[in-house]
């Protein structure tokens, strides 16, 4: 668990990179139970996908991002809430850059609010940093 006095506004999560190849996307389909053909069937995706090709689950991107937040928080029990706006799909075989930044620290509640994001190699957003947030509980020590 992060200590309240150690967290400053502007602090960033260690940057993570994840390559979303077809195998990982298939494994996510099995793990999550989301077997939408958009994620593995190129012929189906060619007809209905916003990109014209197979795309990763939005929740795979958020799951990876949540893992980075959880690691920073010191465990799932310290993650109070997550919200994400999926700005654009992540094509299968793309590499995501995942990040977060402390926007606000509430000393009374002992929480930090982070902007969180996932972007493609060209910098375009998959998870929109302006509308995606994580709230993490902090250790207030003697003050809590």
């Amino acid at each position: 668990m992060r200590r309240l006095e150690d967290v400053a506004i502007g602090e960033e999560l260690p940057e993570h990179f994840s390559h979303l190849d077809q195998e990982r996307v298939l494994r996510y389909a099995g793990a999550s139970g989301d077997y939408n053909r958009l994620h593995w069937d190129p012929a189906f995706a060619a007809r209905v996908s916003p990109t014209g090709g197979v795309i990763a689950h939005g929740m795979l991107s958020l799951g990876l991002l949540s893992a980075a937040v959880t690691e920073w928080a010191g465990g799932p029990e310290h993650v109070r809430s997550l919200s994400a706006s999926f700005r654009a799909p992540c094509p299968v075989e793309a590499t995501l850059r995942l990040g977060g930044r402390v926007l606000e620290v509430d000393a009374e509640a002992a929480t930090a609010t982070l902007a969180i994001w996932a972007v493609l190699a060209d910098g375009s957003a998959v998870i929109d940093r302006k509308r995606s947030r994580a709230v993490v509980a902090l250790d207030a020590g003697g003050r809590g």
Binding site: Y28, G63, L64, A67, V79, A84, F86, P89
Partner: protein, 147 residues
């Protein structure tokens, strides 16, 4: 085909979901959340010490096939994308939890060639009815039902 706006406010029958250790391990491995505890011998590391990733909640709250797509009055189809997602936790998920999930439709907004549907799932602990997590999902259904 458009969604039926009269379904706003509809609550679906609750269903239960049991958080199992192996499903959590599978999920943690693919989302980069696996720790030594996930692969450990259960006789050495008890269930209570296996971290359940917060987004594991998607496994049971985004169960569209048993909710939206099973509703003949809604008109859901598979030409859709996920627009947004939130989870607010009253407590962390735990291996062994038996959870009661109650989905309901919060909003349907129709635009040209698409419907934006928001639905929420209230999740409680079957053992004591205490709140565990509330999930809210926004799903965009495109009218061209190529699916």
């Amino acid at each position: 085909m458009s969604l039926n706006p009269a379904r706003v406010g509809h609550r679906y029958a609750p269903f239960t979901y049991e958080v199992s250790r192996e499903k959590v391990r599978e999920y943690a491995e693919v989302t980069g959340a696996a720790t030594a505890a996930h692969g450990a011998d259960p006789r050495v590391v008890p269930d209570a010490d296996v971290p359940v990733p917060p987004t594991f909640a998607a496994v049971f709250t985004l169960a569209l096939e048993r909710t939206l797509h099973a509703d003949p009055e809604l008109g859901a189809h598979w030409n859709l994308v996920h627009g947004g997602q939130s989870f607010a936790f009253a407590r962390p998920l735990r291996v062994g939890d038996v959870l009661v999930c109650t989905p309901h439709i919060v909003d349907i907004t129709s635009r040209s060639r698409m419907d934006i549907l928001t639905f929420a799932v209230d999740v409680t602990d079957a053992a004591d009815d205490a709140e565990v997590v509330r999930a809210e999902s926004t799903v965009i259904f495109f009218d061209d039902e190529a699916a």
